[in-house]
Symmetry: C4
Amino acid sequence: MLWRLVHHSMVAIGIGLMLALTVPDWRALYGDSLSDAFDVVALFFVLDFVLRFYAAPGAPGGEHRGAWRTRLSWLVSLAGVFDLVAAIPGLIALPDNRDATLIGFIWVFKYVRYSPGLSILERVIANARQALLSVLLGLAIVLLAAASLAYLFERSTDPAFSSIPAALWWAIVTLTTTGYGDVVPHTIAGRMLAGVVMVCGIMVFALLAGILATGYAEEMRRREFLRTWEMVAKVPFFHNLGATLIAEVARLLRVRDYPSNAVIIRRGEPGDCMFFIVEGEVEIELHPQPLRLESGAFFGELALLTGAPRNATITAVRPCTLLTLDIVDFFELLARQPELARVIHEEASQRLGPGAPVHAALKAMIARDNVPAS
Amino acid sequence: MLWRLVHHSMVAIGIGLMLALTVPDWRALYGDSLSDAFDVVALFFVLDFVLRFYAAPGAPGGEHRGAWRTRLSWLVSLAGVFDLVAAIPGLIALPDNRDATLIGFIWVFKYVRYSPGLSILERVIANARQALLSVLLGLAIVLLAAASLAYLFERSTDPAFSSIPAALWWAIVTLTTTGYGDVVPHTIAGRMLAGVVMVCGIMVFALLAGILATGYAEEMRRREFLRTWEMVAKVPFFHNLGATLIAEVARLLRVRDYPSNAVIIRRGEPGDCMFFIVEGEVEIELHPQPLRLESGAFFGELALLTGAPRNATITAVRPCTLLTLDIVDFFELLARQPELARVIHEEASQRLGPGAPVHAALKAMIARDNVPAS
Amino acid sequence: MLWRLVHHSMVAIGIGLMLALTVPDWRALYGDSLSDAFDVVALFFVLDFVLRFYAAPGAPGGEHRGAWRTRLSWLVSLAGVFDLVAAIPGLIALPDNRDATLIGFIWVFKYVRYSPGLSILERVIANARQALLSVLLGLAIVLLAAASLAYLFERSTDPAFSSIPAALWWAIVTLTTTGYGDVVPHTIAGRMLAGVVMVCGIMVFALLAGILATGYAEEMRRREFLRTWEMVAKVPFFHNLGATLIAEVARLLRVRDYPSNAVIIRRGEPGDCMFFIVEGEVEIELHPQPLRLESGAFFGELALLTGAPRNATITAVRPCTLLTLDIVDFFELLARQPELARVIHEEASQRLGPGAPVHAALKAMIARDNVPAS
Amino acid sequence: MLWRLVHHSMVAIGIGLMLALTVPDWRALYGDSLSDAFDVVALFFVLDFVLRFYAAPGAPGGEHRGAWRTRLSWLVSLAGVFDLVAAIPGLIALPDNRDATLIGFIWVFKYVRYSPGLSILERVIANARQALLSVLLGLAIVLLAAASLAYLFERSTDPAFSSIPAALWWAIVTLTTTGYGDVVPHTIAGRMLAGVVMVCGIMVFALLAGILATGYAEEMRRREFLRTWEMVAKVPFFHNLGATLIAEVARLLRVRDYPSNAVIIRRGEPGDCMFFIVEGEVEIELHPQPLRLESGAFFGELALLTGAPRNATITAVRPCTLLTLDIVDFFELLARQPELARVIHEEASQRLGPGAPVHAALKAMIARDNVPAS
């Protein structure tokens, strides 16, 4: 944890120094001290790499052959490559300080290693690889065609279109709808072409959005399920569900983390989900004396059942990991699982006392199907 | 209601005054009166805040400790923060009128409190927090890399790229495909880099669209269900549905509000949904004399069953809240719920008279499965 | 049909004349004739409106009260409003020809009436009304805040930021990532603000895309179902399906229209769907002599069952309306409906002859479950 | 394969030559040799077309009538059109070399033939044809209206708005948010109009994204299924599944190809899917001696069942085609198919040895429902 903080600070400092070193005024004033500081940071990352390489996970000296093999396999792993890359500025900058400082920006990739979200994006892009390449190929075709035609239409009036490679600059600026305005068509044909290119640009945009949206939705569903699945096993309540239901329930639940003293439910708010405690402890602010619930218990189902606002504030006593079940899924689950409806209803009745006002539609549901004996 | 109108007007007037105060011509002419008016608006919001703070919901004087506690908890709630923020211009502008008027624009946030749609967006963004941050981190990495490379390629030809911080301006303008055109690369390497940055910009766009589209679709589904669920309990017709079906039906229905005299169905239009009356009263324009239906009744099912256009115009006599069932879901429901199909078909037969032309596919459906005894 | 063609031509001519009238060179040369032609077109639309108003559908003279009522109800209907609007240029331009010609562009809205696709978009936008308004409100808030801050940062260096209303121009150009470049911030604070505004612009974009994508997908599903549902009733094959299945099948099928002589299936192509004939006649190019299939028959299932490429070219003899069932849905349907699998398999066996090579997985499916008696 | 490589190289060379020929400096220096090289490439594609036409698939000389018919049908097929188009530069450029070289860019369309991804995009666009045309019509309406109004507002102050056709250029640049900045409105009314046009542009963008995203997701689902369906038939394991399940399983699986020596599973990584071998052979690095699995076997299920990280590295010995089953779908499948759960569990128990730590939730699932006899 501390190590990560030091790491992040070094990255930030290193990048800050690199930025500062390129501003002429600052360089003139503090050039030497900035350079020295930069060297220190660069050296830090070189050492960091060397140490990590030596102590590669699963390579604790001893058996020499295996240790080197593990080190090499670490080197070609993602973590190893990132650390090696971070060492490069040091390797180049230490002997010769000029310009080499520029590649300090690659330290920013270090952040990538610690960002869980980026790995989702990576995977989405990797999965949609083929489709993305197709769009880029389509883009290349449009670019080349546009540049050729623009060259044909505009070359006599505008020196910026004096060759197709030059016209390509206009084409990419137009196709991405960036539109710097440094190169602009003037003939009528050229302007009509530009209009078509812009609309094509919008279509390319839209296709990419479609591809990535589809992939992202799928990947997120996968991640959420993996996290929830782990948690479900820890709540005894769910062990009583039939086997056919447990995978389905896991897909409906969501994991939420609350720090100490966080307000989970505020009295008077409308109720839109119920909670299961995986870890931690919560306190319900009841009148005579507050009630504490621990791992395995559930709460928040009353507002869903009665349709009334939350009737008590609930706070986390210790850091909590909760599973939440949304109201939409709650009713769907109840409808499909009469046994579950009965358990939750009994617990709720006990908490509310007899004769409590239950949501009309629900009452019908429970009365008719779920308590057949009564 | 009136209070809300006054509130909205004050916000609009306040912002109008602030805009006017910054136009040199108007300031010269009407500066003093504008300033005075601005002070009045600012004072209004200060008083508004003080009164609301004192009369915080659930703090009716009396028990002192509790009242202050409620006030504080109101202060840190969303409503409290918004009102406090709205009071700031007054607190600053009243002693010294210059420049301080500028922050009048924060009054516009007052609108946020009254907009139900914005709260959806808030929640979507909050839910996708992690993914959005990842995209922004990715954006930062691309920005820094692009600025460093552009500085390397362009610094000798263009003073606008004289330092990396300066090149960052170009990078953000290019990555977002804004393309002001005030800073433009001129070397071939720089232009190729620009092309890559623009395409990256499009990808970032597309990723964000994917993330937000996924989240938005899910949140809307949730809201719709909550609203419909409340309504379903009020229509006796649905109480007869089996418990397993009620949650599912609630997901298919949509709530629609109609003011007095609104035309709900126009004669001759194709029929694409049927209606259940939750509240209000409708009039069916039939020939000998119009027919009135009240809360609990349903209508509009004939056009669905016969496939013919609507055979009567139906208007709201009083403001109505209706539940609509789309034709797609209507047939799906009928197919899964023979009992429901029979009830609707009987009611429809009665309205149409015997021998009415029923949609061919439907007739088969009802004849074979739903009326087994006949 | 002819009337529609005349209509469309008049719209095109009218708009062409309006464009031509604004080009100074052409006006100088042919001004008078262009004006006269424009008057003719304008008069045409005035007459068109008057005639349609008089002959409003369902108002055949006679009963005076009712006729006028129908006319008025036509006037406030969508069709009436469009025709009235199209008459406006005539009403204004005829007495005074200058400038009034400009509003000729509203004739373009006439096209709207005949475009089925636009009505989908209209409905999508209408359904997502609330969410779109929220985004626009959010946009307004960001705009105002950005303009205020930009005014604060830039007013001393740039006359284009001399008042907040002036700064609003910069804000909208930046937020939509249009980036004309006529007004550009120069201070560091202003540029950082601009960066934030651009990223906000991208987010707004993405939110709109999400909202409209969600709504569009839903609306399309609805339209497709409506069209298919009508067709399903005309194919006897589907009448034998159980009632529970018919609505589901209708959702899987898609309507496709083929003109005379169109090639529906080309020999040697991979098979990805099967076809049911609703209307028309197709010819299968078989060796000894071609085979003709008429309304109610199905074809194209062989390639799905055997996994081999199409073994015959099939063309439309007369204009055909077909229902297509995609391979994905085909297998899903077969798996859920053993009876259906048996019928299709028997028909296919007969066409193929005994011992034909059936797709391995399918053979298992049919052998084990669907022909229990054998 | 070799032919394809030659083809691709000729396309690349041809386009490179065309680009080079338009750069004045290079033309002056190497004009003649470039021209000659271009002629060679052009001739190559002419010959390529002639040969392909003569040897059109299914036209092996002999029966003359049929052969010509096949040739013609090849000519109007997609492949034929592409090859004909590629021959055009040769037909034009050979007699007269000037300017005609420009149309060399159409060779780039040759790439289209070999890109599987582009055919997906083609089909998505074809399916959404109607909706896309509607959006383009809407775009045309907005363009015309915007240009007319801009002409009205700006014509007196800016010669760039001197006619509606001229104003159309501004309108398209603004609507697509390209914003060159060469034509910019200066009046207040013109700027407000511009703001509205920009927001409309964003909406058009968003609509397109929605349309294409919907279509793309559907088309991808279709393609994946087709590929998987073919593979499923080759894995004996799936033949034992009930017929109702086989289509569903095919939809959950994904095809993955691995080259020789590729690492499929790395020891210590978290397990997120299991694998079925369709073709090829894999090696599991176990301690006493490695284990080899061939076509029909499955692996990787242990980490899913125990929740522990992968316990062995698995590499492809020969090029492998695998079907992967994601953890989300794995548990869903197990829950719905107790028999399948038992088979996988037994195999896993054997591999793990008795008393192995199984994921808590799963143990409950298997214990209660799946092995009823124990």
